[in-house]
């Protein structure tokens, strides 16, 4: 559905997008994840024909964003990060205007607007549709932006940070809506809120410093991050000094850190990649007659991965700025 090949974008002397390529299948919800300044918004702006790439190609449904931009624009519903709306218009007026702009046949406009309003919870306090956009709270503005994007039932939805600034209840509601929309639309959404992206997206593309750092399903990425596993345990022995050396002696244990918690010893055991030392630790404790009151494995989180790639991005950007200075 969406094909991006060797996309590069320079803003003057700043390289925002550095030769990225990816593709999105029809009907998939793709999450574009990355730290601020990674190039997510820029890529989305190129896909929606708002800005041209410096080099590379992008096609949506087979149409090139530069050469056949009208066709692309007809097929894409876009919600920019800033959710720009005309403040003096009333919600209903605005949606009718967008419907007309988007070639929704005159007879269907009213029902299209009603349907979009319903799906985006704009019918709740009855008078929302009659209120002026400038008077709405951020949550409602975002819903109007979403309604606008999906009004003409485009095959592709591009949402730039759709839940930013929303409260947890609203975030959940939008997340559910996106999942629902995902059943019959192709959706690209960008975010730097991991939790929401993990939950709604079938496929993740992680961007940092203008390059793709990783791509795959949330499960796959978590596996990659799993790497060295960590076991946390709290044990008590008659002779506390024997604990650490004994644990260290376990095959598969790479590094053992310990701390006191009253009369208990708290262990953090770093194991080899993929090794799960929990049963070994339990057996050891039973052998030595230790008491045990906690035993768990820490799963690598995407958050760690995120922080790591952000760090790498900053390093790379620093090098690049130094090089072009």
């Amino acid at each position: 559905m969406i094909e991006v090949k060797h996309l590069t974008k320079w803003y003057g002397r700043v390289l925002a997008v550095d030769d990225i390529s990816f593709h999105v299948d029809k009907g998939v919800i793709v999450g574009f994840l990355g730290p601020n300044g990674a190039g997510k918004s820029t890529t989305l702006k190129i896909l929606t024909c708002y800005q041209p790439a410096t080099s590379g190609t992008a096609t949506v449904d087979g149409y090139d964003v530069l050469g056949e931009s009208m066709e692309v624009r007809r097929r894409v519903g876009y919600m920019p990060e800033s959710v720009p709306l005309y403040p003096e218009m009333r919600v209903r007026e605005l949606l009718m205007f967008v419907a007309a702009l988007r070639d929704v046949p005159r007879g269907d406009r009213k029902s299209a607007v009603a349907r979009a309003a319903e799906r985006c919870w704009l019918t709740q306090p009855d008078d929302v549709m009659r209120r002026r956009v400038g008077e709405l709270s951020r949550g409602y503005r975002q819903r109007v932006g979403l309604a606008e994007a999906m009004l003409h039932d485009p095959p592709v939805l591009v949402l730039d940070e759709p839940t930013i600034g929303l409260d947890p209840a609203q975030i959940r509601a939008v997340r559910d809506l996106i999942r629902e929309l995902g059943q019959d639309h192709t959706i690209i959404l960008s975010s730097h809120i991991l939790a929401e992206v993990e939950q709604t997206c079938k496929h993740l593309i992680i961007i940092a410093g203008g390059r793709i750092a990783a791509a795959g399903s949330p499960g796959e990425l978590r596996q990659r991050v799993l790497g060295p596993s960590r076991i946390i345990a709290e044990v008590k022995a008659d002779d506390a000094a024997t604990i650490v050396p004994a644990v260290n002696a376990l095959s598969g244990a790479r590094e053992v850190a310990s701390g006191r918690a009253g009369s208990w010893t708290r262990l953090t055991i770093q194991g080899d990649a993929g090794a799960d030392l929990r049963s070994e630790v339990f057996k050891l404790a039973r052998e030595k007659g230790w008491q045990m009151r906690e035993l768990r494995r820490e799963v690598g989180s995407l958050e760690d991965f995120f922080v790591q790639i952000t760090y790498e991005q900053n390093v790379r950007l620093g090098q690049r700025t130094a090089a072009t200075a």
Binding site: K45, T48, C49, Y50, Q51, P52, M70, R73, R74, V76, Y78, P80, S82, P84, L85, Y86, P87, E88, M89, E93, F97, V98, A100, L101, R102, D103, E148
Partner: protein, 246 residues
């Protein structure tokens, strides 16, 4: 694509909501009223409405033309600049609408607003009619001239608005262009050496407008104003399109 009409309607609605538009409208009518009743003694302009004066709006139309040099840019300054500022340009650019349709829509919207703005001046015509016998044809031609002049002036304003984020810059730039071709060009015509003064005479807005004010429909004036409008609207479309490549 006549999405231009859709845009024009939206734009018109925006004008009627904005206090700025009402303010500018009020200013326009107040100043024209001032010229009508009191003239502008400083520049030796007689009031239109006085005993012994000719029963026509000719003088008023000339006054309004000068007023428009400053009012037109105020009406158009927000047309594109506001879209850039608020980010709604992103919506327009990613919608399946051509730049030409966008400019056409803006132009139609502001022209309609301008026409509505002009209509209260009919009161002046009515007042003159109470005391004298103005010629309807002359008045009609005068208003046609005002519309043509408006088209050209507003097109200039739209163009400067497409060039910048800042409304005030758009307004000042448009005023500069219009003031040059209406006010500054007069001393050039009067004092510059031969080829320049002749060329300048052909570009002087007031030369062409004077005929309309007097009730004379000269095709040269028609071509001048419509041509100017066309040129500046074309330039606006190009300016907008160029944004797509940056």
């Amino acid at each position: 694509m006549r999405k231009a009409i859709v845009l024009a309607r939206r734009e018109l609605g925006g004008y009627f909501f904005s206090p700025m538009a009402y303010g500018i409208g009020a200013l326009f009518l107040a100043v024209s009223g001032g010229f009508f009743f009191f003239g502008f003694p400083l520049f030796n302009i007689d009031p239109v409405f006085q005993p012994g004066a000719e029963a026509s709006l000719r003088q008023l139309f000339m006054d309004l033309a000068y007023i428009m040099v400053f009012i037109a840019p105020l009406l158009t300054m927000r047309l594109m600049s506001e879209e850039y500022r608020s980010g709604t340009i992103e919506k327009l650019t990613t919608a399946p609408i051509s730049e030409a349709a966008v400019i056409a829509g803006k132009f139609i919207g502001v022209m309609v607003f301008y026409a509505i703005l002009l209509s209260p001046t009919l009161i002046f015509l009515a007042l003159v009619g109470v005391y004298g016998r103005p010629d309807a044809g002359v008045a009609a031609t005068g208003y046609l001239g005002m519309l043509l002049l408006g088209a050209a002036f507003l097109a200039v304003g739209i163009f400067t608005s497409t060039l910048t984020h800042y409304q005030i810059l758009a307004a000042v730039a448009a005023m500069a262009i219009l003031a040059f071709f209406s006010l500054l060009i007069q001393p050039i015509v009067a004092h510059a050496p031969e080829p320049i003064s002749r060329i300048a005479a052909r570009m002087n807005i007031m030369t062409y407008f004077k005929d309309f004010a007097r009730g004379m429909l000269d095709t040269r004036g028609l071509v001048y104003f419509l041509g100017a409008a066309a040129i500046f609207l074309f330039l606006s479309v190009k300016a907008l399109e160029s944004r797509r490549w940056r």
